[in-house]
């Protein structure tokens, strides 16, 4: 049980990172973006490419960092992936979402995002093949933290959790301490009022996409590091990430963080009770339970 709990927290950190980006986009642009998880996929593959490039240019970079399976090359590639994914998010907005936004309703956006997800997933499949890829083939063995009750934890996962928490703290500081953060929050609260006060709406939207894309890239690389990379990452992660966002309440960054951990923990703990065949339902049963008690999620506000 304690193992399930620990695993859930470790898995949850990746979901949290994905959910933060999604909650910002959903809150600001008022639509359920089903293509958000594809940004994780773009990030993971971008890092895969740059990892190979950096390791080829400078072989010493291929060395591992401490007990982790992460290499220096991958760490650098992560930065490149953040930039590329942010840019991709912006590009997709320019090409599709901004145009649909100007003409259609929320629902048009939702379905446009379905279409975008389909395109990104299959283009990735054509470019990189449909099979599974890994950053590192070595298997990092879990460390025994405690024998009774048995608790095993992988160094990679601890690193991912720590890094994710660090990113979240940094984001918190940006949102609460900087002018940019104030502007962003103002727009999310009330776009019209914010504009009246001189906030450039177009720039803020671009910022949200870049931010969401960057966080998604980190989540994607971390996911690839602790699991594996395939063109189906987006399909596999879209629902848990959504679940985390909804449980936390749309628009709440802290809700998204908590939501990620709740979904991660619940999915892991539930298997101790339910037959494993039912594991895909678990995130939704949690959503349902949360919404029955709090119709706007844990931290969400009712929207007029």
């Amino acid at each position: 049980m304690i193992q399930n709990l620990a695993d859930g927290i470790l898995v949850g950190s990746v979901l949290s990172l994905g959910a933060i980006g999604l909650t910002l986009v959903m809150h600001m642009l008022r639509f359920a973006n089903f293509s958000h998880a594809e940004l994780l996929s773009i990030g993971a593959y971008a890092a895969l490419v740059f990892d190979a490039v950096f390791a080829a240019i400078l072989p010493p970079l291929a060395a591992k960092i401490g007990p982790l399976s992460m290499t220096w090359a991958l760490a650098l590639a992560l930065l490149a992936a953040i930039a590329i994914t942010g840019a991709s998010a912006l590009l997709i907005d320019r090409l599709v979402f901004r145009r649909v936004r100007s003409k259609g309703s929320e629902l048009s956006m939702v379905f446009a995002s379905f279409g975008v997800a389909m395109i990104v997933r299959n283009v990735t499949g054509l470019l990189f093949g449909l099979g599974t890829q890994l950053y590192s083939r070595d298997i990092v063995f879990a460390v025994v933290v405690s024998r009774d009750p048995l608790l095993l934890i992988k160094p990679d996962q601890v690193f991912v959790l720590a890094a994710a928490l660090l990113v979240m703290v940094a984001l918190h500081l940006v949102l609460t301490r900087t002018t940019l953060g104030f502007a962003l929050r103002a727009v999310a609260e009330n776009p019209t009022l914010a504009q009246v006060n001189g906030v450039n709406l177009g720039r803020m939207i671009a910022l949200v996409w870049v931010l969401g894309g960057g966080l998604a890239a980190i989540a994607g690389v971390f996911y690839g590091l602790t699991n594996q990379i395939s063109p189906m990452i987006g399909r596999d992660l879209v629902l848990p990430v959504f679940a985390a966002t909804i449980v936390g309440g749309i628009g709440s960054v802290y809700g998204a963080v908590l939501g990620g951990f709740i979904v991660g923990v619940a999915a892991n703990v539930a298997l101790a009770v339910l037959p494993s065949g039912y594991s895909p339902s678990v995130p939704f049963l949690i959503i349902l339970a949360v919404l029955l008690v709090r119709p706007n999620g844990l931290f969400g506000e009712a929207r007029a």
């Binding site: 193992q3 399930n4 695993d7 859930g8 898995v11 979901l15 299959n122 499949g125 449909l130 099979g131 599974t132 890994l134 083939r137 070595d138 298997i139 990092v140 063995f141 879990a142 025994v144 095993l152 992988k154 996911y223 602790t226 699991n227 594996q228 395939s230 189906m232 399909r235 596999d236 992660l237 848990p240 999915a267 892991n268 539930a270 298997l271 101790a272 037959p275 494993s276 065949g277 594991s279 895909p280």
Partner: protein, 423 residues
């Protein structure tokens, strides 16, 4: 264009024509085309190689002069693993392209509605490489397939029996069973658990592995809790890699028994050969004749790797048997005639033929003389029973640097004996 250029152009064309004739040989005589349909999930990671293998067979047969002197054109449609899409594609192939032979589908959930609502009503012969559901046998027993249904996927029981035998031979006292949560996995998972217990081995857990989950950590934790001496894995490479890497990193036993779906280079490379030393796989097998290597040799030539992956040899056999049966049935045969001719190419008393272009040519001569042949396929001496199911001998294999090696061979009689002992 100058006169010189025209001349040169003409010469090149002539050279190309000569080269083409030399290359294709008998194929030059082909001036007709026969279409066959294929409905396979090409947009899915494990589905694409299955389609690739089917196309490979068609190419070989065309190289050998085609069927009844006609070039075979395989019209390939993607099922998207969506029954409606697959059924519609099959219907379009049958009605619009007029195919009499249909290859597919992979998933039973797609093959079944195609069979009931497309091929059987239209009298088209359907050959599936990989649909494993027992429902097909029941349907055939009820006479509802009209003898049009064939599958080269030996019933899961053979592999389940051999899997349990491996566990016993290795002396494992306890085994956890992890199975893919689809029709094939549910079936084989249940059978393996039964046979293991019949051997007196404790099954510590049977864990369903669902498709498309972001992490299998919880499932692995669940399986490892009983501290089994070994695990039995009926998974595809994608989930298999994820599960086994988690399993190993959590300190799980390296004693593994693998179903043939994990006989895959992708799986070996991603897990690492160093961890697969005590992994034993099971598979249905080729007969013990020299010529049976033909398939492997040809496959390596074409794809540069061994035919390791779920359903590849099955797809090879399904396609080859379909084409042989078309050859046996004569020119412009109807689907029902092709289906009836399957017995003529899988006759245990017939002339043995190998699973390649040479084998096809040999079979053509025998069939033209009114004889029967025994196709010695990639999955074995394929023999269909009256319900279109195959039984086959089995092998136990393990991974090597370059691919896999066969450790022991279990003849059809021994498999039958195991089945008798198990019951």
């Amino acid at each position: 264009m100058t006169a010189l250029n025209i001349k040169r152009g003409g010469r090149i064309a002539l050279a190309v024509a000569l080269a083409t004739t030399a290359l294709t040989g008998a194929a030059a005589a082909q001036d007709c085309t026969t279409k066959i349909g294929a409905v396979l999930p090409t947009s899915v990671d494990w589905g694409k190689p299955i389609a690739e293998t089917a196309q490979f067979v068609v190419d070989q047969v065309n190289e050998a002069g085609g069927v009844q002197g006609c070039k075979i054109e395989m019209v390939l449609r993607d099922t998207q693993v969506d029954p409606k899409v697959g059924v519609d594609a099959a219907k379009a192939l049958v009605d619009l392209d007029g195919v009499q032979v249909l290859l597919g589908a992979v998933s039973s959930g797609v093959s079944m509605p195609i069979l009931t609502s497309v091929t059987v009503p239209a009298g088209v012969a359907q050959f599936s490489c990989c649909s494993s559901s027992g429902a097909f046998t029941t349907l055939a027993e009820e006479g509802k397939t009209k003898g049009l249904w064939f599958r080269t996927f030996a019933t899961s029981n053979v592999q389940a029996l051999v899997g349990a035998k491996v566990a016993k031979d290795q002396g494992y006292k306890s085994v956890a069973v992890l199975y893919k949560n689809d029709d094939w996995g549910q079936d084989i998972g249940k059978l393996v658990a039964q046979h293991l217990e019949a051997q007196g081995i404790t099954v510590t857990a049977t864990v369903a592995i669902n498709d498309a989950q972001p992490s299998y950590r919880a499932e692995v934790t669940d399986a490892i809790a009983g501290q089994p001496e070994a695990i039995y894995l009926a998974l595809y490479p994608t989930e298999g890699i994820s599960v086994v890497r988690e399993w190993l990193s959590l300190g799980g036993s390296q004693n593994m028994i693998l179903a043939n779906s994990l006989k895959s280079d992708e799986f070996r490379d991603a897990v690492g050969l160093q961890y697969l030393g005590s992994a034993h796989g099971t598979d249905t097998s080729s007969p013990r004749v020299e010529s049976a290597d033909a398939f492997v040799a040809r496959y390596k030539e074409r794809f540069g790797s061994e035919p390791n992956g779920p359903g590849l040899s099955n797809s090879y056999d399904a396609t080859m048997i379909a084409l042989l049966a078309m050859e046996a049935a004569g020119k412009d045969a109807k689907g029902s005639e092709v289906a009836a001719a399957v017995a003529r190419v899988t006759d245990p008393a017939g002339t043995p033929v190998t699973a390649d272009a040479a084998g096809f040519t040999a079979a053509r001569d025998v069939l033209a003389g009114g004889g029967t042949v025994l196709y010695q396929g990639a999955t074995g001496n394929v023999r269909f029973d009256e319900n279109g199911d195959v039984s086959a001998p089995a092998v136990i294999w393990s991974f090597t640097e370059s691919g896999t090696q066969e450790d022991s061979y279990i003849s059809l009689e021994e498999v039958d004996a195991l089945a008798g002992a198990g019951n």
